[in-house]
């Protein structure tokens, strides 16, 4: 059981190190997340962990505690579905048509936070067979927070961050190790172009996009705001483009300008312009290199 005093101490530490406020009544969260940390450091319970932290624990224990308390919202390859949709349905449909038109594919990671989503897209493109590079695809990433964008541009992630969602073979292939953490490889870092942008404002300055990822941000808006964001996104979407939303997000009941994509690979969360020209492909072309699914057969 966490005492009120220990709870306050942990909440203060979290706020100090990550800027995140824990709020009241999250004792259950601390128990489930911090006990494994305590055990790894040979501490019998949470009071012992707090005591060690109060006595001035090493940086590793402090970071492990803070990271474990943080609700992780910015994973690499967050949710398998949109990346499956991109790989198996959207890119096989769009890549040949953009090649024919002699222009680059344009992908927008809207609300990219600290960069995990656009870099995941870049890694996905780079591991297709054959791979796509900056000559074939442009990746634009925006966020309203200059602080998040600065981190995204830096492309430097902690040991914890690179283990959430990122397969080890991609870590080895696309990151270098520095004393400050793991840095995304320079070609990928330069591939993503970051800009400050507020989703509540028109995106016309950014141009038109073939794929827009706007995931897990609309849930925070009320209906009228959602509606205006959807309008902005729709205007920025090519007539045959695709909008990828988070699992809990839908335009239905908010706007009629978007409809669910015809769904040959059963990926939910993929939308197209109502009356648009999107023709998703049935998965054939590009398989991402060694996703290593090894679910046991027994």
């Amino acid at each position: 059981m966490t005492s009120a005093e220990d709870y306050r101490f942990l909440a203060d530490m979290l706020a100090r190190h990550s800027g995140i406020f824990l709020g009241d009544g999250k004792e259950y969260l601390l128990e489930s997340r911090l006990m494994p940390i305590a055990e790894q450091f040979d501490l019998p319970d949470l009071p012992a962990l707090v005591q060690r932290l109060r006595q001035g624990a090493g940086a590793v224990l402090v970071q492990a505690t803070v990271e474990a308390m943080t609700t992780q919202e910015t994973l690499f390859f967050r949710d398998a579905t949109p990346f499956k949709a991109l790989r198996e349905m959207i890119l096989p449909a769009l890549v040949p048509s953009r090649r024919t038109q002699g222009r680059r594919l344009r992908i927008w990671s809207a609300a990219c936070s600290t960069g995990q989503e656009p870099y995941s897209v870049a890694m996905l493109l780079a591991t297709l067979a054959p791979p796509l590079g900056p000559a074939e695809a442009e990746i634009v990433a925006t966020d309203y927070s200059p602080k998040a964008l600065a981190r995204a541009r830096e492309g430097l992630y902690s040991q914890f961050e690179v283990q959430r969602g990122l397969p080890a073979h991609l870590l080895v292939r696309f990151f270098t190790q520095t004393p400050g953490g793991f840095r995304i490889a320079e070609p990928l870092r330069r591939w993503v172009s970051y800009q400050e942008h507020n989703l509540l404002q028109s995106a016309s300055a950014l141009g038109q996009f073939d794929v827009i990822l706007c995931r897990n941000v609309l849930i925070y808006f009320d209906r009228p705001v959602k509606r205006s964001v959807f309008e902005c996104l729709t205007q920025a979407l090519a007539p045959d483009g695709y909008l990828l939303l988070g699992a809990a997000e839908t335009p239905y009941g908010v706007t009629e300008s978007l409809v669910r994509a015809p769904d040959p690979c059963a990926c939910p969360g993929v939308y197209v312009r109502n009356g648009g020209r999107a023709r998703p492909a049935v998965a054939t072309v590009a398989a991402m290199a060694s996703p290593q699914r090894v679910a046991a057969s027994r």
């Binding site: 489930s32 040991q159 397969p167 080890a168």
Partner: protein, 122 residues
């Protein structure tokens, strides 16, 4: 229910892993070194996934992995390294030896469940 073999010479680490994976629906077996783990896999062959430390007495994790992957005729479990070795060359070596994933200590619940998801175990 998937069966997980936790191989670590530290009882505290084995307990920490058990606390995380049992609520995820895994049945947990434990081994304190690579030799015990190899006996388990060769004679019982029941593990769907092995969570594997590197530095251990008797037989270290990489030696276990090498032997496991060359054992003929046994069902090959997925292997997730779980170690304090956090250098990219070490990760590369483990993957080359047949590890499916790699966890750098200290870990938390999110990291372990993220790796299980990547391997289709959840």
């Amino acid at each position: 229910m998937h069966r997980i073999l936790v191989v670590d010479d530290s009882a505290a680490i084995r307990k920490a892993i058990r606390r995380i994976v049992e609520p995820l629906g895994f049945a947990v077996e434990e081994a304190a070194d690579g030799r015990q783990a190899l006996t388990y896999c060769a004679e019982w062959g029941k593990a769907d996934v092995v969570l594997l430390d590197i530095d251990m007495p008797v037989m270290d994790g990489l030696a276990f992995l090498r032997e496991l992957r060359s054992l003929p005729g046994i069902p090959q479990p997925a292997v997730i390294m779980c170690t304090a070795h956090n250098g990219l060359p070490c990760i590369e070596e483990a993957l080359a030896l047949g590890a499916n994933e790699y966890i750098m200590k200290p870990f938390d619940t999110e990291i372990i469940s993220s790796k299980f998801q990547q391997l289709g175990l959840m």
